[in-house]
Subunit: 135 residues, 4 copies
Amino acid sequence: MDKKADQIIDSMFEKDSFSQWMGIEVEGFKSGYIKLSIKIREEMCNGFGICHGGITFSLADSALAFASNSRGSVSVALENNINYTKKVEVGDTLIAETEEIQNGKTIGVYKIRVINQHDDLVADFRGTVYRTGKW
Amino acid sequence: MDKKADQIIDSMFEKDSFSQWMGIEVEGFKSGYIKLSIKIREEMCNGFGICHGGITFSLADSALAFASNSRGSVSVALENNINYTKKVEVGDTLIAETEEIQNGKTIGVYKIRVINQHDDLVADFRGTVYRTGKW
Amino acid sequence: MDKKADQIIDSMFEKDSFSQWMGIEVEGFKSGYIKLSIKIREEMCNGFGICHGGITFSLADSALAFASNSRGSVSVALENNINYTKKVEVGDTLIAETEEIQNGKTIGVYKIRVINQHDDLVADFRGTVYRTGKW
Amino acid sequence: MDKKADQIIDSMFEKDSFSQWMGIEVEGFKSGYIKLSIKIREEMCNGFGICHGGITFSLADSALAFASNSRGSVSVALENNINYTKKVEVGDTLIAETEEIQNGKTIGVYKIRVINQHDDLVADFRGTVYRTGKW
């Protein structure tokens, strides 16, 4: 078990009201990696009956924050980009999983795939963080 | 006045529970353009006492949706990217303003600047939408 | 063998003076996929003795063009994004390989990993194309 | 006049064979800012008779490098993103102009507009650099 990553993610999650409002659950993690899930509720959807892009993005963004900070240095996002490849609707369950492609002393880069309950890719995300070193 | 854009934005906003949960307000708009504001509340902040990037992104994303759809064609986001240039804290007021840089029949591209109450740039966003033509 | 993809890539490559100037070679392809390589020469490097980012980007961009057009519809790039994860130097050989994550009638999305001769990731790229349907 | 920026740009340009191959010209600069131009030649075009996206990107990327390094710290690109809004053809003259939206000690963010000889926007670019501090 990765005790340090465990403590960091626990501490972050406990204070993260927005991730709690979204109903994000941690499916698994290790240092530099996390898997999150979320159930899409009606209040997350827009006027077209489909999930607001901001929800899908925020799920990926939370995954980025947890995975990058779990390395033991406070990491702040510099740049994020996302492609939406399939619409998300009420009742869908989304799963976000990270892949660390750079783990530098000051810079980290993570790719995050977001899939639904049918294993369809709904979004592809990449984020760059700056490690401030203050944990 | 731009009656069509007016009706579209009214209709979108009314059904958009997430933008309502965020407390987004429309400061002004015309066809292809919108200005939105939001007051940052405690439940939007993460464990570091700073606003979740997902909130800032979602504000910009809502602006993208309103501005692009106001052109009269249902527009879905293909790709979004964002740079965070300054941290956002509880009590801050953010303002997102769009600039339409492409208004094609099938593709639209919008840049969105997000500033705080001190006119500091907090995020810079660009989004590409596909116009499905179904309004 | 994929005759149509074969013809398209042959035809594109033959007319693509810039890819020829770069010395790009096709390592393998099928419909919706391609693998390219390039040897980094001195005239591709900048004042710091490292390869100009534009070369690495252009290799990925050529891979995007070949992979997306090989689907049988003329595809033009809408948006591209790239993270540089390791510096590239004179004498390095780069390999770009595509992954198609969306193959829609009008929109295609491709991820491209660029590695060097030591299998180190040097860049991660994602591109969105619009299919004009005119082949 | 900005002597330090002047020396840095001179020194970078002199050693940058790729920017010289492209025929890039410096139209103006100051610390944190540059304006470049390029004339599109036949060997920069692809099989569709339009300019390779890599050329437009490379022009913007050179502008990013010159503008960010002119601040006096060696700056390496972390992430770049670009939207193409209009096709570029043989004989066109492109002008790239930078806007510095973040000038931090370790991180810089620059937006670059690329227009043609008719003042049409052909591409919109944003780049994030890391300042290594080694000039």
